[in-house]
């Protein structure tokens, strides 16, 4: 604001054109900010008397390890349509001392053809907020925080228009692929998409990651149901 104000003062006032280059983007900025604020208040149920704004963090690891997976389940105050591949930003003001001025983007791994009441996020614990969440969830296996949702953001690829789908993920990149797989399998099961074949490659440096993420132990050549729907994955 300081910069824009003094830039406005610096521009010549005799002609409106130079200052118009400030008025237009500032106007768009204000319009976007106001609309986003209203949407944020509506989305998080500020007008609802008993709105739920809680997120439960669950971890399967017994100690704080950099890169450990966590599952965050966000109970929404209003149901929300999330397309595959979209992400939300979480504002958890009570998670730590400085968390009130941070928002963090997380990929939504849950998918539903309709509105979702609870979002599921697969998160890699790193430094900062995710490290704090993991540390606090490690003690009892889970922890609950006041959470506000911003979004959803991001675009979704129309995978249901293709017969063959080839998905590649590495490590925690699986978080971006899971909703597409769920969508494709749902479309296959309900005959609402053209998907017939899904080729899925997941590069894992750590064999135990699948267990830590989904509670599944890997043995070579094993075929197991995948994602609780029709379809299977063979580990080699």
């Amino acid at each position: 604001m300081t910069c824009v104000y003094f830039l406005w003062r610096h521009l010549p006032s005799e002609n409106i054109i130079p200052r118009l280059y400030i008025y237009v983007p500032v106007g768009i900025h204000l319009l976007t900010s106001i609309s986003q604020s209203i949407y944020f208040l509506y989305r998080n149920g500020f007008l609802l008397p008993r709105a739920s704004r809680r997120a439960v963090v669950e971890t399967t690891m017994g100690h704080n390890e950099n890169g450990s997976p966590m599952i965050i389940r966000v109970k929404l105050s209003r149901p929300l349509v999330i397309k595959a591949g979209q992400y939300v930003k979480l504002w958890m003001p009570t998670a730590s001392l400085s968390a009130w001025m941070q928002t963090h983007p997380f990929m939504v791994t849950s998918w539903s053809p309709g509105k979702q009441q609870t979002l599921e996020l697969l998160v890699q614990a790193r430094r900062g907020l995710t490290g704090v969440l993991h540390r606090r969830a490690t003690d009892e296996g889970h922890a609950s925080f006041t959470t506000f949702v911003i979004g959803p953001h991001g675009s979704s690829e129309p995978v249901d228009q293709y017969e063959s789908v080839f998905a590649v993920a590495s490590g925690f990149g699986i978080a971006g692929v899971i909703p597409y797989l769920k969508q494709a399998l749902h479309g296959y099961n309900t005959c609402t998409s053209r998907v017939r074949r899904i080729h899925f490659v997941w590069e894992l440096n750590d064999k135990g990651m699948l267990f830590r993420c989904f509670g599944v132990k890997l043995t070579s050549g094993q075929t197991f149901p995948w994602l609780l729907n029709r379809g299977s994955t063979t580990y080699s």
């Binding site: 910069c3 824009v4 768009i28 900010s33 979004g151 953001h153 991001g154």
Partner: protein, 210 residues
């Protein structure tokens, strides 16, 4: 430029945009082979692979960045009557470019509005930030060349100094450009000190200068 000219340009832009999208729709089915060729040779091959500080840069990205720089350079130098005009043009261009940096609160909204990837918005933001920094640096240099006896007591000189040293402008940019702005502000301060000190050379010849 009066209001009617602005209206005419805006209306013309809308019509040209609609016409362009109409043409795009007509040729879309024919252009699939061409887009495949472009993707294979322009969009996917890397000029510079991912490094710690920069990259990855593709041929398409580098080409668009060169075109963007060329348009700004052309707008500055086309039929340039004087150095003062160049200073004015670079300042105006910096403000025009900066409009694309401040028009949304955060880039996720811009990516949603333009239906592009967030990574594309980040790179565009990075490129525009660098361009604003360079144009501002040139603007400052040319203004100093025209009128070296600047002083912070004058509001006309104080305001641009605050703009350049304002942390909010550096907040909108990448870490590299933030550093550039801090350096430019520091250099500007040093230059002002130098100009004041420089007057001492003329002191034996002319006496104290006003």
């Amino acid at each position: 430029m009066d209001q009617l000219s602005i209206l005419a340009i805006a209306a013309g832009g809308v019509f040209i945009g609609l016409f362009f999208f109409r043409l795009l729709g007509l040729f879309l089915s024919e252009a699939r082979g061409f887009t495949g060729f472009v993707s294979k040779h322009v969009i996917y091959p890397y000029v510079l692979k991912r490094r710690r500080m920069i990259g990855p840069w593709t041929w398409g990205g580098v080409g668009l960045f060169i075109i963007y720089v060329a348009v700004n350079v052309f707008s500055t130098l086309f039929k340039l009557p004087s150095i003062a005009e160049a200073g004015r043009r670079t300042g105006t261009l910096a403000v025009i470019n900066m409009a694309f940096l401040i028009h949304v609160p955060y880039l996720d909204i811009q990516a949603d509005l333009l239906a592009t990837q967030l990574r594309t918005c980040h790179r565009t933001h990075w490129a525009i930030g660098w361009m604003v920094g360079l144009l501002t640096a040139v603007h400052i240099a040319l203004c100093l060349a025209q009128r070296p006896n600047l002083t912070l007591a004058d509001k006309g000189d104080l305001f641009p100094f605050i703009v350049c040293s304002s942390p909010s402008i550096s907040e909108a940019f990448t870490d590299d450009l933030r550093l550039l702005f801090l350096c430019s502000s520091f250099c500007f301060s040093l230059f002002l000190c130098f100009v004041d000190f420089h007057m001492i050379y003329f002191y034996p010849l002319t006496g104290p200068l006003p």
